[in-house]
Amino acid sequence: MSATDMEAGAALPKVPVDYLPLLLPVALALAALPFIPSGSTWVTLTVAGLAMGMMIFVMASGLTLIFGLMDVLNFGHGAFIAIGAYMATLVLVPLAGWMQADSVWLNLAAVIPAIALAVGVTGLLGLAFERVVIAPVYGQHLKQILITMGGMIVAEQVLYAFFGPQQIPLPLPTTLRGSFMLGEAAVEKYRVVCVVVGLVVFLAMLAILNRTKIGLLIRAGVENTEMVEALGYRITRLFVGVFMAGSALAGLGGVMWGSTASR
């Protein structure tokens, strides 16, 4: 048997798992410990910081998808965050009674449609935005900046026209009000939910981008759209899907942020 044949029969290398990046938040939290006198305060602040970070992550993940993968500078991304929050008010304000009820099911019956509406509308608007505004300026950063800022201004004014200039409070469901007590540390329930939602989004994105063919196609398409098409894939459709997903994530982030800001 030749050396080549022997190599052909050998096992393929296995993927090493890199846990190091996951330790960064833990290291940062521990680094802050000496500067906070009380352990319970440290726990409360750490969870609050994580929750805030996760909300920003959910909103920014859409921006990252769109910029990092499609090389599109979307200065209108903030509009999708605002639209998501406003869409949630369309459901949560009329269903304020369900939100105040002492029933998890009634709370969920209000929250789930609100999130679905926010994510659905921002996703569909993302589709329209990509086709009408972004598609003509692919590969032209300066024009992308100008036109997406224009799009954001238009969206902002449309929101004013429909919802008025006053702030609309986005109520929290009764189930998510108040705190858990971890020893002497108070941890707000809503912040824990934000951390969990952020983690779910993070893990889902990680799995999709690294473990699915769609993820590989997105990463490959960013690098060489032409070659992906020469392999037989319709990359344009995929990019539209990515833009929709990015916009929908902004909408989800808008609901989360709106609920925080209204407390």
Binding site: A8, L12, L217, V222, N224, A230, L231, G232
Partner: protein
């Protein structure tokens, strides 16, 4: 032998430049056809036009009798054409494995076929989980080849595979091409190295100024030094 691919009166414009001026030639099924010519003759443009990466502004391209010049690039690829571009175009940010997963369009990679490819290109196994961007030029070309071979294709379009590569790598590529050819594949290969062309090619088309100015067998061209001088401005003796 019937022709798998035919080009009739194909014209291509890139911006305001008129590059192909009525290209006419055919690629016989199960044979390796070399496309030769000086730099700027239109060889790469011809391959890109067949793939739909640049649109033919006139003329007809048929694959197995079906017109493909109006199809999109993904549809042309799905019709059974594998493409190895001059730039290799491996996805640098993806691993060798991920590059091949994408190339295996129909589903899972066939392990037997993968082992067959590793037989020609052992570095691909060694660097299986390395990012393609970290590979050497020769290894990238191996990966680009492997991508086109991971599934059987009706036709392979290969653009200057030996350009700038070390002799040992060129040897591996030629061995691979010979084996692919032995298995009955149809190949259209652009090549500047006449020695390589002579070793692999069955038929040949010579291009100049966006036209095919000569078609025939590779053996006939290789045996006629005057014809080589006239068509290509070279001879085997001066191009080794």
């Amino acid at each position: 032998m019937s022709e798998l691919l035919t080009l009739s009166g194909v014209e291509t414009h890139i911006g305001r430049y008129h590059i192909l001026h009525g290209v006419e030639f055919g690629v016989p099924e199960g044979r390796t056809t070399m496309l030769l010519g000086r730099n700027g003759a239109g060889k790469t443009t011809t391959l890109r036009t067949i793939m739909g990466l640049w649109r033919a502004s006139a003329g007809v391209i048929r694959l197995g009798g079906q017109r493909i010049e109006t199809l999109s690039t993904p549809d042309i690829a799905r019709a059974g054409i594998g493409y190895v571009p001059e730039t290799m175009a491996v996805f640098s940010d993806l691993t060798v494995k991920e590059n091949l997963i994408l190339a295996a369009r129909e589903g899972e990679m066939d392990q037997t076929r993968l082992d067959w490819i590793f037989g020609f290109f052992p570095p691909l196994r060694k660097f299986w989980l390395s990012r393609a961007g970290t590979l050497s030029g020769g290894q990238k070309q191996m990966l680009s080849f492997a991508r086109s071979l991971i599934e059987p294709r009706r036709l392979l379009l290969i653009d200057e595979p030996t350009k700038g590569l070390a002799p040992a790598i060129i040897g591996a590529l030629i061995d691979c091409l010979k084996e692919v050819k032995r298995r009955g594949a149809t190949i259209l290969l652009v090549e500047q190295n006449f020695r390589v062309a002579q070793e692999i090619g069955d038929t040949v088309g010579v291009m100049d100024n966006g036209r095919v100015i000569h078609s025939g067998t590779m053996a006939a061209l290789a045996a006629d030094e005057q014809l080589q001088h006239r068509l290509l401005g070279l001879s085997l003796d001066t191009h080794q």
